[in-house]
Amino acid sequence: EVAKPPVDVHADDIRSMARQTIRVLDDNGQPQGPWAEDISADLLKQGMRAMMRTRAFDERMVKAQRQGKTSFYVQCTGEEAIAVGQRLALEKGDMHFPTYRQQGMFFAQEFPIEELINQIYSNSKDALGGRQLPVLYSFRDADFFTLSGNLATQYIHAVGWAMASAIKGDDRIAAAWIGDGATAEGDFHSAMVFASVYKPPVILNIVDNQWAISSFHGIAGAEASTFASRGLGFGIPALRVDGNDFLAVYAVSKWAAERARRNLGPTLIEWVTYRVGAHSTSDDPSKYRPKEMGAAWPLGDPIERLKTHQIAQGSWSDQKHAQAEAEYADEMRLAAKACEAFGIVGDGSTPPIGEMFEKVFKDMPEHLQRQRDSALEFSEKN
């Protein structure tokens, strides 16, 4: 059982926490220990709904990719509790700098899924005008920062955004996201250095799902130490948490958010989880890990674990669960179908060619105007 320190604790006084694992739900779905707080049944329902819809969405989009409706998709199966839990713990206006595996955030805030599907289909309604690879979303209104295809770059952006918030005396905070594998990049280090020097209001999340495509997290240093302990060299409070425990995710995120909001500085959080599915639709894990492994859900299924808790609480039932599952599956199927009306990747219903030249700069310089004109002229001829 891991203690829950006051939010203004000094990093030096909780160094050991970087090597322990915070957990709230025991194996019977009972909340245990100091990190258990009374969370309203409503919030649990919200969390459950968001996690279930995230999973249903993933399943539908993986199918859609197999059916050739999109070029690419990334699922987050088994990791839903992390993005959903933290998004629910933070406020509207706080800015998230996610990776491609935090789609749970959209469902935590009931974001219109058509927006996601149109981007994934690169169709005429794609909010990004076909510019970006599927799932490399950008939705500022949803506090969701534009995803880069290059790993780790957003980690220092989050720190910079939080520095700006502090400079402006704003009380909005930032949340940085990175995977276990990407912590090896230099940008992770810059973010840690700047966070330790300027102490901006940022939550530094590391999602250790134990895999980076085919590389086990040992290739990122997991066998030598915990990822949370990377914080010790920077005097940043560092916690390690069971990421498949929705209650723990919510409680720890709240704690870190309060530290940031009260200008007590950054918090590093390692979320221990497991990538149950393939890395992406381009990946075939059977080439590098035994099939059973993923299927075994090493850390349990976050949805099942919350379900057990809710049922124990009397606020949920197997039957309700089954109904919801079916309902969300339908919802996703219908939404996907509806979005197809606006086209799918490569079927010609993509955003117009001219769009390709917009937004490189605020105002299109002459050389780009010339290139656009010849591209348009050419496409009319051919």
Binding site: L133, N150, I213, S214, I219, M356, L368, R372
Partner: protein
Amino acid sequence: MKKAGADVKSPQKNMTMIEAIRDAMDIMLGRDDNVVVFGEDVGYFGGVFRCTDGLQAKYGKSRVFDAPISESGIVGAAVGMAAYGLRPCVEIQFADYMYPAYDQITGEAARLRYRSNGQFTAPMTIRMPVGGGIWGGQTHSQSPEALFTHVAGLKTIIPSTPFDAKGMLIAAIEDDDPVMFLEPKRLYNGPFDGHHEKPVTPWSKHEAGKVPAGHYTVPIGKAKTVREGAELTVLAYGTMVYVAQAATAETGIDAEILDLRSLLPLDLEAIITSVKKTGRCVIVHEATLTSGFGAELISLVQEHCFYHLEAPIERVTGYDTPYPHAQEWDYFPGPARVGAAMQRVVAAK
């Protein structure tokens, strides 16, 4: 370095470009204990494009291994190994991810020999898939060759066939200077000519898919004339070699097509000879236009062939935007765009 085609008469095998690249590393790992191969996912798994598949099983984890996701670490460690005396051949998963390593490539690998007056050298090869046309969007489609050719101390080469890929990669690993080995990913499985609506002919059905079994090198610095012609010269490399051929067939223009293969060192003589003969020139590449390698080619041609030029040289390239996802086939300089430019240049008075 062994002469090109030394034992090219040895038994031939049909290979994809992926297999040819793998075969080159296999042969060099076998011949030279100092060769090591590493990169993201290249060890146990064998690389996301399978280029190193089976090599760890064959040569062990100390010769072929997975690396952390740190391109600067991969290149930096390779520089240290090379300074020790090894010949690292490392993979950057996509050229789009070489940027974090750009300082180690351009400031360290490239200048080690110079700044130490030859005391320390960096005999290393950096492999990276380049080019678009796989729905990869702006971070799986780039062609950064010009960012290497501007830097003193780097060799930059790019094959267009399995035969060249194997011979050039062996030459690169044996080279005593750092070599950027760019792999046109769209050519991994066949000679893609830009007609994305048609299936690509597999290498097994293509002449250049026949690859000699043993060790041979294709010397760095020599271009190859893939088509002789009288009306104009097309300078191309990588995927664009096949796009140029398609454009030639479709326009019926009697073009001379040069596959440059090596951008630095460059086979200037072959270029000059051809342009002096034809008097007209079109340059094709997939990278963004402004400050692309085509600019250097135009400069050299006009410096050396000014009095032979009968028309302005044209560039057909990617546009000066990030590589878009949905519009990638409008961005890609396909046969129609290349053909149109060829017609303009031939028609010019």
